[in-house]
Subunit: 222 residues, 2 copies
């Protein structure tokens, strides 16, 4: 039987570009580098942030904006690690947008911070469509999610500059095809950089942190 | 520093209940059991459907509606297995709604089918809010996603009758706490049934299929 294909167009892209532009002006004035970190639930966003900030060292003063539908679980982890954190609860919304960031930082002077990490809501789809005033967008895919995900969720891979492949310690226990994954991602987005890492064992993490540090310094002192 | 909490209310729940009611009347008339299957990308929806339909046996005549943002990768897998399939491409939308199902089945008589499986878009957030005329909602979480996910994405766990925990073959290689996971899920939704399975090794799959078969027969012959 031939496969029937139904294509449904829906305009879900809201114009949050104006607010994002204002945020960019503010972050430019305070020379604060903003990273928007996105992935599905469980790919390792929180662990990646904690490990990354630890390895960036005392020269980089960070803050984190946590985006979650509900709960302050992740914010508590940041707070425990001594990292200044603002928790956004979206009340159901599946992504962070610029107006949420505006509300989150309204009361703060951002100039002491070299880096603000926005940990987006766990979702490989919607967050890719909403700017949040960031300098750089990074995404995480984890090995157990499968090497075919770039084909099925292309926008996230196309809209990010760094593609962190986490949990490579699980490669021996899955049928994840690393070569195929890299090939597909580079076809979608030749400008992205892929970082195969294990935030558990530490493998590959220094390469990622070094790349990020150069980007942060470029804005702070460039 | 105390954690600052910003709560943002947004009404994202669209009224798609009327269309869902009409679909339910249609599926009642044709005695077709409809299952809405949801999970994050990579948790194993497609594999679960293929394995489930195989084990349900020739008594249960199935069809599948595939929901994807783009691509017909999953529909091709169903077609290869000889399963009648309709592919919905949402064109960006992060969930399936009732009007998409209506369009997908408009040209078909559903009475020959005992079971229609709706494979939703890979997303642990938004699909939980949209009915699609289903008799039963099932979700999959996979072990590598972590046992804390019910706390962070509670709606999906609250809105489903079956919670399939897939990839239990990876339990030895992760810090997933099965007891903690079960406890949290049952607190959120005491009426759900948890099925720990490995669609790779087959462990636990028969319990799930047997439970589902009873539900299908209840509608078909009840």
């Amino acid at each position: 039987m031939p496969i029937k294909l139904v294509t449904i167009k829906e305009d879900i892209l809201k114009d949050n570009n104006e607010m994002s532009k204002l945020l960019r002006r503010r972050f430019k004035a305070s020379r604060t580098f903003v990273m928007n970190l996105m992935s599905s639930p469980g790919a390792g966003k929180t662990t990646t942030i904690l490990e990354t900030l630890k390895r960036l060292g005392p020269d980089i003063k960070p803050a984190v904006i946590e985006g979650d539908i509900t709960s302050i679980v992740d914010a508590e982890k940041m707070d425990k690690a001594g990292i200044p954190v603002v928790q956004i609860n979206t009340g159901g919304a599946c992504h962070i947008d610029s107006s949420m960031i505006e509300q989150a930082i309204a009361d703060y002077d951002t100039s002491p911070f070299d880096l603000i990490v926005v940990e987006n809501v766990g979702n490989l789809v919607c967050p890719a469509e909403f700017e949040v005033g960031e300098d750089m967008r990074a995404m995480i895919l984890s090995v157990p999610e499968g090497h075919d995900k770039p084909k099925k969720y292309p926008l996230m891979f196309m809209e990010t500059e760094a593609c962190i492949l986490n949990k490579i310690d699980l490669l021996p226990y899955t049928d994840f095809d690393l070569a195929e994954f890299k090939k597909t991602v580079m076809e979608l987005n030749p400008k992205t950089t892929i970082f195969p890492v294990s935030m558990k064992t530490g493998e590959g993490v220094d390469e990622w942190v070094s790349w990020l540090k150069n980007r942060i310094r470029g804005k702070r002192y460039g």
